[in-house]
Symmetry: C2
Subunit: 323 residues, 2 copies
């Protein structure tokens, strides 16, 4: 199953959406048009608009409101990516140089604010009050989640409760927003909107856990060693937390000390080996798997449809993907 497969039942909607979106983004400021054109060219898999359309389909039917919701989440997501580039000082995004590297922090921050404002204005123009409520809350959760992660990074300490809260806020909130907005746009009952929101929340958490596992298991193309960016950056994620819980106390203490000296030769490799040896990978994936099972079980309360089937396939994909 490839990424594009999920979009299959809604391909036409997505194509029309993309044409409208490019037109809506036109601005009187030439620099803005240049940056927007660059962003549109380098756009990703469009998982978020796809989820909006699929959720609308599964919740009763795609309407004109669905495209507005899809445009909102796409703008919001792009705004957070542009701001993340400043935050992470990322030189590359989706294989292309980041906006930050090309136009510096100044343009990246302003551009993110602009995209956020455009997204909100879209909802305001169409009087989509409920969309606004859902997305503004997601923006709050995303920034809170990221800030909580910064704070824990400083202390080099995270417990599992904090970890789960961070990934729920920083990642799952936007996925949940996509599903919820899709359902709202279909005119679904509040119970159905909530159900799809809960589906998205679980899938989003599984998605992030899989990301965190891949950071341990996928090898850097150049060195053939695990990427382990998270450890290098002092981020403690689920595989490590589980290994620390499984290992004898003495070993765990040693690893906690190593975490403070990841700049030293061999430290990162020792931590990765520890996580593998003490079953951190399997244990984290078991949790992701449970979340996906729960998410798919929620879907079964909805009538059967090709949209519902693709939502279930997407849920499954989040934990099976290898990148």
């Amino acid at each position: 199953m490839t990424d594009a497969t999920f979009a299959q039942p809604i391909r036409e909607h997505l194509d029309r959406f993309n044409r409208t979106f490019a037109r809506q983004m036109r601005s009187a400021v030439p620099l803005l048009n240049l940056v927007v054109r660059y962003l549109l060219r380098s756009r990703g898999k469009q998982l978020r608009p796809t989820l909006v359309f699929l959720s609308a389909g599964a919740a009763g039917g795609i309407t004109d409101r669905t495209s507005i919701g899809a445009a909102m989440v796409e703008l919001l997501h792009t705004a957070t990516l542009v701001h993340d580039d400043v935050v992470d000082q990322a030189p590359v995004r989706r294989g292309l140089a980041s906006i930050n590297a090309l136009w510096k922090n100044k343009v990246a921050v302003l551009m993110g604010d602009y995209l956020l404002a455009r997204g909100l204005l879209l909802a305001v123009e169409h009087e989509e009050f409920e969309f606004l409520r859902i997305t503004a809350d997601a923006v709050r959760r995303m920034s809170e989640g990221e800030l909580l992660q910064v704070q824990n990074f400083r202390k080099r300490r995270t417990d599992e409760g904090t970890y789960l809260r961070i990934i729920a806020d920083k990642t799952a909130s936007l996925i949940a927003t996509c599903c919820q907005i899709g359902a709202v746009s279909a005119g679904a009952d509040p119970a159905v909107c909530q159900l799809l929101g809960a589906f998205g929340e679980r899938v989003g958490m599984a998605f992030q856990i899989r990301d965190d596992v891949l950071d341990y298991t996928s090898c850097s193309a150049i060195l053939g060693k695990p990427a382990a960016h998270d450890i290098r950056e002092g981020k403690i994620t689920l595989p490590l937390l589980r290994a620390l819980a499984n290992a004898p106390a003495g070993q765990a203490t040693q690893i906690r000390q190593l975490l403070r000296s990841t700049h030293r030769n061999g430290s990162v490799e020792r931590i990765v080996a520890f996580v593998v040896d003490y079953g951190g990978i399997e244990s984290a994936m078991a949790t992701a798997d449970t979340l996906v099972r729960e998410a798919i079980a929620l879907l079964e309360q909805l009538p059967d449809s090709e949209y519902r089937a693709m939502l279930a396939a997407f849920a499954q994909y989040t934990i099976e993907r290898s990148k």
Copy 2:
């Protein structure tokens, strides 16, 4: 007349507002509380909430909705200040070290996004759809204005039309928003809301022109020379544009060339002298004065009140202040 004088008719409202605001800002993330507490301690003259309350008073009467509007603009303004700190890499804001210097870009960008989201959520919670429309449009204009300025900075060229558009978008839009939201919160007619918006737009532009003039006329405390930050940063503002228009063509061309080499010894001083010699200061101030006259004339369409009087006094102050 001091800054605090404007707030005199609404002092009680403002005090109550400040107490509520601090409470509303509490978050479950300790780092956020720390940063928010820091921001509250270093808050400025609160001109923007003051304008919201005065406009509401002048437009018919302060209501519960007025405090919500004031909180929204305060959050929005603070968000833009925090983001400006990243953008300008400013080490100091209001005499204290900037959030950026203290917590790095990462926290500053996220914090700005968080404050923006909180502001929008406040309106959503109270179903203040009209507030949302006005503020989302202001956010769009502010980022567009800043981006237009970045773009013109690159070209080291600005004509007067572009300059006026930049200051309208980046500065006047938020002042206009304060006045308009105040009027809306008083339940005023659309015509009155528009009138107060137009008042704020003119006052905001005069405010920025005065800022740009002060950059030429106020002396740095240490060197006793004009600050001239704008020239050093390649920003071409109204005093220089007017001097270039007044001067003989040959002189103007020489100065345009100097603008490309402001790093050279003596260049900045020569440009400042040119602006003074060719009446750039007086000419720019005459425009600011006209804007303030127009703004005060608009107010005369409203019934007389202490609020209206303070709005007029504020308009006058924007061009008389020396810092």
